[in-house]
């Protein structure tokens, strides 16, 4: 019988089976233990996903159109008791002098008590339309990036003479039964006749121009007076990167006598603010997720250590059956790693579900880097592996004779 004794082994599938059996011995405890990792990984995935989704939303708003756009608000009119327009008639030209301005124009929405636009003087009810009416300076049509479907836009000539001319949005024209401009069709706004001189196909920066009626600013002032509810404002189209500086300079350039009446704003600033807020919130939540993960790791370490002490008899038995110290160590390491892996898997799934729930509720498009979803269980397993190192070492160093006596 003397001779070579084959070495004792622990095959991979046996290791997996033994580790799984070890975990399933106390399923309740295992479930509670992986809760910490689950929460940590889950909140991590959810926060990263929501941050990515939110920045996707911001990205949608923050495009090149907005980066080249500034506003000037009529804060003086907002504070005055009587309706007024604080933009001078030559505001377009004054704004154009600012370096970096491509086009600028003043506009406001004209409000009527009832639907005011009709194709006929006395009007059949059927053709009356609740169309938005916008008063605009000629420069606005350029600043808004209007594209014509037909005819022409009104210009400084119409403006200075306060002529009754109008441009219609394409859908508004169709609604009013206007298909051709050849016969100089007329429409009636609040009973006043206007000649339709152009049809707008689209308006990049002010979409309402594409669906409503736009008339010269001076005409609106002459017929209906300054706006009572919403103040006039100026839209400025700038070169790329100039929006912020232009917004600062515009009030002085337009009203050097009293710049305080006007207030300039570059569009992305509000978006920027929102981004900053969400970034600091993310840092807070990520810290909390990190804490949850550390607590989860401590939980796994603790449970595994308790299991090592509790199962000393089993460890002694395994050693008597031929297990080497490393076989014992790797079994407990596998158990803790599996706990971390399962915690990571469940956490990642819950994180994705959370992201979906939030994005569906907010009508957002869910965005999540798939690498995060793959990395999450791996991170969980790594946490479990680290947490199991010390207990596994303790287990492998147990003397079999001592262990069997416990």
């Amino acid at each position: 019988m003397r001779g070579d004794v084959p070495p004792s082994r622990l095959r991979l599938h046996d290791l997996g089976g033994e580790a799984l059996a070890g975990l399933l011995q106390r399923p309740g405890r295992s479930a509670l233990t992986l809760l910490g990792v689950m929460l940590g990984i889950g909140s991590f995935v959810a926060i990263v996903g929501i941050a990515q989704t939110a920045s996707g939303q911001i990205g949608k708003q923050f495009n090149v159109l907005q980066a080249t756009q500034a506003y000037v608000f009529d804060v003086g009119a907002a504070q005055s008791s009587a309706p007024t327009v604080d933009f001078p008639p030559d505001a377009d030209a004054l704004a154009d002098r600012i370096h970096g301005v491509t086009a600028a124009g003043v506009y406001w929405a004209v409000r009527f008590k009832q639907a005011a636009v009709s194709a006929y003087a006395s009007g059949f009810l059927a053709s009356q339309r609740a169309l938005p009416v916008t008063a605009a300076s000629p420069g606005l049509l350029a600043a808004a990036g209007v594209k014509l479907a037909g005819g022409t836009l009104f210009n400084q000539f119409h403006e200075t003479r306060a002529q009754n001319v109008a441009v219609l949005g394409e859908s508004a024209a169709a609604g009013l039964g206007i298909t051709s401009l050849e016969n100089q069709p007329a429409i009636f706004i609040d009973g006043q006749p206007f000649t339709v001189i152009g049809i707008i196909a689209s308006s990049q920066r002010l979409p309402q121009l594409g669906v409503g009626v736009t008339v010269p600013e001076s005409t609106a002032l002459r017929l209906w007076g300054p706006p009572a509810h919403e103040q006039a404002q100026m839209l400025i189209h700038t070169t790329l990167g100039a929006a912020k500086v232009v917004a600062e300079q515009a009030p002085v350039a337009i009203r050097p006598d009293n710049p305080a009446l006007l207030k300039g704003a570059a569009a992305p600033s509000a978006v920027q603010l929102q981004h900053n807020v969400s970034t600091s919130l993310n840092t807070l939540f990520l810290t909390l997720a990190g804490i949850a993960l550390v607590v989860g790791a401590v939980g796994i370490a603790n449970t595994t250590l308790v299991a090592v002490l509790e199962r000393a008899g089993e460890i002694g038995l395994r050693r008597a059956l031929g297990a080497r110290p490393r076989h014992i160590g790797i079994q407990f390491l596998t158990e803790s790693t599996a706990l971390g892996l399962f915690g990571g898997l469940i956490g990642a799934s819950l994180g994705v579900v959370t992201i979906l729930a939030i994005t569906i509720y907010r009508h957002w498009t869910a965005l999540l880097d798939p690498r995060i979803v793959i990395a999450a269980p791996v991170a969980g397993a790594a946490v479990g592996l680290l947490a199991g190192l010390y207990p596994a070492l303790r287990a492998s160093l147990l003397e079999p004779a001592d262990a069997l006596r416990r």
Partner: protein, 243 residues
């Protein structure tokens, strides 16, 4: 070294001047220098009061501990000072253990407990169940293969443990107080089983302080204060103070 006892053949286990001293302070000599030979097929009982060094001897014979002096050979392989890798291999393939506390895993059935011994001996998976079933049949428990330990009586649990010790066909069966947790009737049953295993050729070393169990062995070795004496002395001295 001559052999004794009818079926005894070449030595399964040979101790040469083996001694064990617990490192102090103060150092305690748990086993005085001892030489001992156990031949193949022998049935040896080791008796002694607690604290006499029985457990130390068992741990040394079972390769669960290393002697501080001397050499231990099992099947002619010097394993006393061998690295753990080699000692674990010998435990897996050549030694079967039976403990007083059974040491069955509570969440596994009888056959799964038996099959645990085949994990480390690297028995091919497809052969495990049949071999475990054969071992259970050998101890008369084939019909309880799928029972959990909690559903077994004390005697049945110990028989499962014996099946687990036998499943790798070891050269040596080491029993540490195998009847310590059992009542008198069950003790008799179990002693009968051990005796039948001996008749079938298993080499048995039983550590016990039950005189009934010890009385069934061919050789009785007493241990007291770390000193071995054999009564009656076998033909040729097997246990004697070491050189």
């Amino acid at each position: 070294m001559t052999t004794g006892g009818g079926a005894a053949g070449e030595p399964v286990i040979r101790l040469r001047s083996v001694a064990y001293t617990y490192r102090g302070p103060p150092p305690v000599s748990a086993l005085k220098p001892t030489s001992l030979v156990i031949g193949r097929g022998e049935h040896v009982a080791i008796t002694g009061p607690s604290g006499s060094g029985k457990s130390t001897l068992l741990n040394l014979l079972g390769l669960l501990d290393k002697p501080t002096h001397g050499t231990i050979e099992i099947d002619g392989i010097d394993v006393g000072a061998a690295p753990e890798r080699e000692r674990a291999a010998v435990r897996a393939h050549r030694i079967g253990f039976v403990f007083q506390a059974f040491h069955l895993l509570p969440y596994r059935t009888s056959i799964e407990n038996v099959m645990l011994a085949q994990v480390y001996s690297d028995e091919p998976r497809r052969r495990r169940r049949a071999a475990a079933m054969a071992a259970l049949a050998q101890v008369g428990l084939a019909d309880r293969a799928d029972a959990l330990p909690t559903a077994l009586s004390g005697g049945e649990r110990q028989r499962v443990a014996i099946a687990r010790a036998l499943v790798n066909r070891p050269s040596l069966l080491m029993c540490d107080e195998p009847t310590g947790n059992l009542d008198t009737a069950t003790t008799h049953e179990l002693t009968d089983l051990l005796e039948s295993l001996h008749r079938e050729g298993t080499t048995l070393v039983v550590i016990t302080h039950n005189p009934v169990v010890a009385g069934r062995a061919q050789r009785q070795i007493a241990i007291r204060d770390g000193q071995l004496t054999e009564h009656p002395p076998a033909r040729g001295t097997r246990a004697f103070p070491g050189s």
